[in-house]
Symmetry: C2
Subunit: 336 residues, 2 copies
């Protein structure tokens, strides 16, 4: 048995004869080591836990894929758990993953400040890296600098001559990410001397988005641009605007967030903040691996490089102020 271990792992000596004997036996029995026994002995599982809210959201899906690729290349496998934005599942998931002795964790928690899961991880000293969260002290996180990105959106609206804008998000700005975006956007607007953006909060089922948008625009008639908290909602707003017989971008300009691929395929194309989920997921993955192996941690991108602004057909100067035709207005002013 000891000999077999040595031969198959190429550790320690073995005569040529013995080597052959072992190998033929392995062949014959179709033998394969049990990783469970191995893990017990080595106290390592070559498995990384990955916890995200939902991979139905392409942002997380891409991030998970990015991390998973990194892990696979390094010989690690990925134990995936989707919490469906449920804190209990989140906590439970972490407990189980740690009981399963994962070598590390990549995770997006609902609220890093209060997360039981995160506290538990700390107490167990498991190598880990956050993803899409604001890192509390003593944690590292790969995420989009939401605040700065949202400020950039305000810049864009300002450059195109918009004054009164709106911000569309899920009710109660439920995630810390949404809050960051809202605050960044507010700050950006303030910096340009624009009035504070009006807040349009919606439910997740956007059945009545058109009605809500209608009311919102009637309540805030000066609004010429809306920043939606993600691209899907931005596209939904465009559709609703269409139903209200509003011209996008002439009557209403829309900017999204995330930079999903379809945004460039549709008409009008979507002006948006482009992010790189795969890169973030991969980065978080590499960070965890570096913690495990004690190697140098990969350098994180500059916060301001975690996103970029991409203009598109959904953004133009407001018609009322524009002195050229709608078609031309779809192009950015030369300065940009």
């Amino acid at each position: 048995m000891a000999t077999v271990s040595r031969v198959l792992n190429n550790t320690g000596p073995a005569s040529a004869n013995m080597r052959k004997r072992v190998l033929t036996a392995v062949e014959e029995l179709d033998f394969q080591f049990s990783e469970v026994g191995r893990s017990l002995q080595s106290n390592t599982t070559r498995t990384i836990g990955c916890v995200v809210p939902s991979i139905a959201n392409p942002v997380y899906a891409d991030a998970v894929q990015g991390a998973q690729d990194v892990f696979l290349r390094a010989g690690y496998q990925t134990l995936l758990i989707c919490t469906n934005y449920n804190t209990e599942i989140e906590t439970q998931a972490i407990r189980t993953l740690i009981a399963k002795k994962v070598d590390g964790l990549v995770l997006t928690v609902s609220d890093p400040q209060t997360s039981e899961a995160l506290a538990f991880i700390e107490s167990r000293q498991v190598p880990h890296c956050l993803l899409y969260n604001m890192a509390p002290a003593n944690h590292t996180s790969w995420s989009v600098h939401d605040h700065a990105a949202a400020t950039r959106v305000a810049d864009a609206f300002s450059e195109y001559g918009h004054v009164q804008t709106g911000f569309l998000a899920l009710k109660f700005l439920s995630s810390d990410r949404a809050r960051q975006r809202y605050e960044g956007f507010v700050a950006g607007c303030a910096r340009h001397g624009m009035p504070k953006p009006a807040l349009l909060e919606i439910d997740d089922n956007d059945d009545n988005l058109t009605k809500m948008l209608d009311k919102f625009l009637k309540d805030n008639p000066a609004i010429t641009g809306i920043f939606a908290s993600n691209d899907f909602r931005a596209l939904a707003v465009i559709r609703s605007a269409r139903e209200l017989a509003l011209d996008v971008p002439g009557d209403l300009s829309i900017i999204g967030f995330d930079g999903i691929k379809v945004g460039q395929i549709v008409e009008p194309s979507l002006a948006t903040i482009v992010t790189n989920p795969t890169q973030l997921g991969g980065g978080a993955g590499k960070t965890v691996l570096s913690m495990i192996n004690g190697t140098a941690t990969p350098e994180m991108p500059d916060p301001d490089e975690t996103f970029s602004f991409r203009t598109g057909g959904s953004l133009s100067r407001p018609v009322a102020e524009s002195n050229d035709g709608g078609k031309v207005a779809a192009f950015p002013p030369s300065k940009i």
Copy 2:
């Protein structure tokens, strides 16, 4: 030690006093069983392997999510591997998963007929269920009945008065799924007395789709409708058509496949085959669990219920044949 095991697992007797002693010790030491030791002893890991090409594709992402939800509810966790359509990784992944002693497997392989991975699984007798594959003998699979669905697309084109159509797919119809769709579409067209659809094969990077589409339509001037092998490609075709100054659906009708959400948000909305990846993933998950527990296998949906056709603004009667305005033509004939 034996006592601790009994107390914590509520198996076997323990005096009230002892019970308390154990529990306080557990509390004090923050003790938690190692699942590794447990697995070694019980020969079970409460882990299911899940192998798909890529979760960047929302179809697989949703399917994985569906399976994962089922597993989580049943107390199982999911070891996810994305193969990036690479057969070597596929084979390697399966080997490792089996070495890790997963209790079962849900997987999409590139070609079930020749898959080494699948053969390996069979030889090891691991409970498993295919997903989005045509099941070879002795295997079960949850998948869309691609052939029938594609036939349905031909029906739709026929109902709307189209005669010459085209089929757009990746080069060489690389997956068995794409082949099934092509064949089903061809069969459907034949049944309606329509000529055989022309085949437009593209690369994955659709930079030059517009050019290829242009040439394709010039080579086949009678074409009035295109069936794209998935929704993203359908949307891309719509964009390219727009660039070629073609009216969709007037000059060219488009039907997609998958039924992704954005299809309903964009303008024109996308006529497509709607599938339910979450349901399929969940079904495959339940099937594996039933194999593990020896319970009754869940009933699979009728093949013809694995999809439905949803019409949309991208499909109408061809203008040349239409005797009413384009707007009205966007609605289905009353018969449907």
